[in-house]
């Protein structure tokens, strides 16, 4: 066992981990932050997506010890300070960008990473960016629409299919 320490959503968190402890396991079981979901646990689905030092990564495919000393952002830190939904989260609600909600934390974290690099992405760019995030409910259409809306773009042209 070894001690790791990282800044999670602005607060310093530390705990004991094994070499094999995944970042997703540390967040969920070590820190009790279960918003980061583990879907496939094989790096395919993206439900576990978080930001490490500002970069989108899959927390199920990174060791907790690799994140020692890093800045980690998870879905728990996305809402506004008063607890209201942030722009991306609100857009997901407004545009029905989720059904069961299991993939949503990863979708929101992925969307946040995209909009940071590309504030007004095209529909194609959004779909390409979401290649590593799998949703089995929505057919992606309203997720793409929500992200376009969150970027301040007009989504009336995107039909509700």
């Amino acid at each position: 066992m070894a001690q790791v320490s990282m800044t999670v959503n602005g607060a310093v968190k530390s705990g004991e981990v094994e070499g094999r402890t995944l970042l997703s396991t540390f967040l969920r079981e070590g820190l009790g932050m279960t918003g980061t979901h583990v879907g496939c646990d094989t790096s395919q689905c993206g439900a576990c997506a978080v930001h490490v030092d500002g970069k989108l990564v899959k927390a199920c495919t990174m060791l907790a010890m690799e994140a020692d000393g890093a800045e980690v952002a998870t879905i728990e830190g996305q809402a506004n300070a008063d607890g209201s939904l942030n722009t991306i989260q609100q857009a997901f609600q407004d545009h029905h960008g989720l059904q069961c909600g299991f993939c949503t934390p990863g979708m929101v974290m992925s969307a946040a990473a995209l909009l940071k690099e590309n504030p007004t992405p095209s529909e194609t760019e959004i779909r390409e960016h979401l290649e590593g995030n799998i949703c089995r409910c929505t057919g992606y259409h309203n997720i793409v629409k929500a992200i376009m809306a969150a970027s301040g773009q007009d989504v009336t042209a995107i039909a509700a299919e």
Binding site: R20, V57, T61, L114, E131
Partner: protein, 261 residues
């Protein structure tokens, strides 16, 4: 996963020392190795992360004009680079954005997955793989599926790519894995054209010499009209038969030549 110790050395020398330990294994970005460990297909005693070594990360142009990419450089960093557009284009379509933020060029080349993209770029560019002990020409480096010239404990510290006049990589994506069902890298240099094929062969990445000769004489898609690779020795599985892959090699080569810039 079986239990293992974790180390993150800050220098190449310390990494080499750590890899000399019992059952030690190098960890690049972990995008293949961590899933492999989860399936208990490997049982290292110690994982030695190569991500904490500043001299192994980043990209620069060498004195001879070649592009030098540190072994621990992520796909995302290569994708964002501008010096070698064919290489950046290839890197920008590996896996997905989250994978590209972790995976490294050294990790990909050390693993030498038969359907990985980077081996095609390295072989197609006639790159030099630099390790902690020596320099290996790409033509000598790839030795079959998941097999390379690397010795135990040897680390890829840098990959040096001669930058071609024009180049392009075309990947026919296996839609579930996003690996190449067939991927072809074409690079045109002053002294000839190189064509490297990944995803297709049971022997891993290979050069299509016939196409290289034809394209060196006439760099146009129609130059390889009538040429074909032997379906014997191609990978055949539920995603595509041997004959289908052999056919795709020609198609993707033509597309790469047409798109080369």
């Amino acid at each position: 996963m079986y239990a293992f110790e974790f180390e993150k050395p800050a220098t190449i020398a310390d990494a080499v020392a750590a890899l000399g330990g019992e059952e030690a294994q190098a960890l690049g970005g972990g995008q293949t190795l961590i899933p492999t460990l989860k399936q208990r297909l490997a049982q290292p005693g110690t994982l030695v992360s190569l991500k904490g070594i500043p001299e192994m990360a980043g990209i620069c142009v060498a004195d001879d004009g070649a592009l030098a990419v540190g072994g621990a450089t992520t796909h995302a960093t290569v994708a964002a680079s501008t010096e070698y557009p064919g290489l950046a284009g290839l890197a920008s379509h590996i896996g997905d954005p989250a994978v590209r933020n972790r995976g490294t060029i050294g990790g990909s080349l050390a693993n030498n997955d038969p359907a990985a993209c980077y081996p095609a770029a390295a072989l197609g560019s006639g790159a030099t793989i630099k390790t902690n002990t020596r320099e290996i020409a790409a033509d000598d480096y790839f030795q079959g599926m998941f097999t390379t010239a690397l010795e135990d404990g040897e680390i890829i510290t840098e990959v040096r790519f001669p930058v071609p006049e024009v180049s392009n990589y075309q990947k026919f994506v296996q839609p579930a894995s996003r690996f190449a069902l067939v991927g072809v890298f074409v690079a045109k240099y002053a002294d000839g054209v190189r064509v490297a094929v990944t995803g297709a062969s049971e022997d891993g990445v290979f050069r299509w010499s016939e196409a290289e000769a034809a394209l060196s004489a006439n760099f146009a898609p129609e130059a390889i009209e009538g040429l074909s690779v032997d379906a014997d020795g191609m990978i055949g599985d539920i995603h595509g038969s041997k004959a289908y892959r052999a056919h795709l090699v020609g198609v993707m080569t033509k597309r790469a030549v047409a798109a080369a810039s």
